[in-house]
Amino acid sequence: MCVTCGCASGETRVEGVDPDHVHTHGDGTTHSHSHALDHTHDHGPDAWQRAAVAAGAAASEGSQARLVQVERDILAKNDALAQHNRDWLAERGIFTLNLVSSPGSGKTTLLVRTIEQLAGRLGVAVIEGDQQTSVDAERIRATGAPALQINTGRGCHLDAAMVQTALGRLAPSEESVLMIENVGNLVCPAGFDLGETHKVLVLSVTEGEDKPLKYPDMFHAASLMLLNKVDLLPHLTFDVERCLANARRVNPAIEVIPVSATSGQGMDDWLDWLERGAHAARQQRPDRVATQHRRLVELEAEVARLRSQ
């Protein structure tokens, strides 16, 4: 299922089901995923000898060896799918956040609290990513918001293909907020665009102020850092100013909001940030004519590509 993470192929489950057998999107388009690891193995020495002989023979015959330009980025496939997701979400005016953090930062509790306080103000849908269990999705559903669980098996991050499948199944409402809670991991998700509007990094004050320097890629990729569990500060030696300085050293443009899901501190600032973002997503929603024109151009390019093969 995962187009870039071979170690998880065949193990991804969306709501408990292998998504390779579920291909329909909300807009009616279909596609299928095939596992990349289906080549044959031939480990015996014979295979190497045959290859070496063939290579030697080709070289001695003055083979028509030629150079073919490629210049393709390795993550191009994930990036293309992510852009497809981004366009799909932008057309519907959906403000989308990719929530990243270490395990235990308080992401899910913060999400639950956020959804409760947004009730009546903004619609929220959630895509949950974990290796196993649907515990988090169930906690979200208990608030009344729709949630879809992706289990990655041994996979360590969500990718654009998983999110594409999830969007088709979840069908978030137009002009709502979509929260994608990534697998708890400050390393791998940094490299995998999902199509989100922003990455939001949740750092708990119990994790230490050096985290931004230890995980620079993730802090660089985030637009906003929620410094969580500030109600615990009186019990810790956590240096807030040093943490902010470290974060800004790695990412000069990062915004920071100190919050506590349990005490409620900072929640108003966080909710205002959300409201502003959701408003911008509504305002920037492309009109239908422009959207259809873009789709037409995409289809024409696809037809031309298929014809040339």
Binding site: Q64, Q69, E71, G191, P252
Partner: protein
């Protein structure tokens, strides 16, 4: 990180290019890997060897060109070379740097027969 899955992606790109060009065999593959791309070169070589067994690129020579990380320094308005994210500007020692290059991995070209 993820060298095996990255190698799978390389193999897919190489196979597709070779097929499109009617090649029977891939003799060499040239990759460009930025120093900020977080790719372990040795792990990449090992993974490439493993995933190309049984493909058109089996026993292909793997050439890896490492490119420097580059960043725009907002303080001294220079594009500078950096080895790691979080490094200071080599010109003015500021940390206000925006990465501009060297954080991607690309298949540059392949030699086919």
């Amino acid at each position: 990180m993820h060298e095996m899955s990255l190698a799978e992606s390389v193999r897919e790109i190489v196979d597709e290019t070779a097929r499109t060009n009617g090649a029977r065999r891939v003799a060499a593959v040239r990759l460009e890997i930025g120093r900020l791309a977080q790719v372990e070169i040795d792990a990449m070589r090992f993974a490439f060897e493993v995933v190309t067994r049984g493909s058109l690129a089996e026993a292909a020579r793997l050439e890896i060109v490492e490119t420097d990380g580059s960043a725009w320094c907002m303080r001294c308005a220079n594009t500078v070379a950096i080895a790691r994210r979080g490094d200071a500007c080599p010109e003015c020692a500021s940390y206000q740097l925006q990465v501009t290059g060297g954080d991607r991995m690309r298949v540059m070209d392949i030699e086919v027969a």
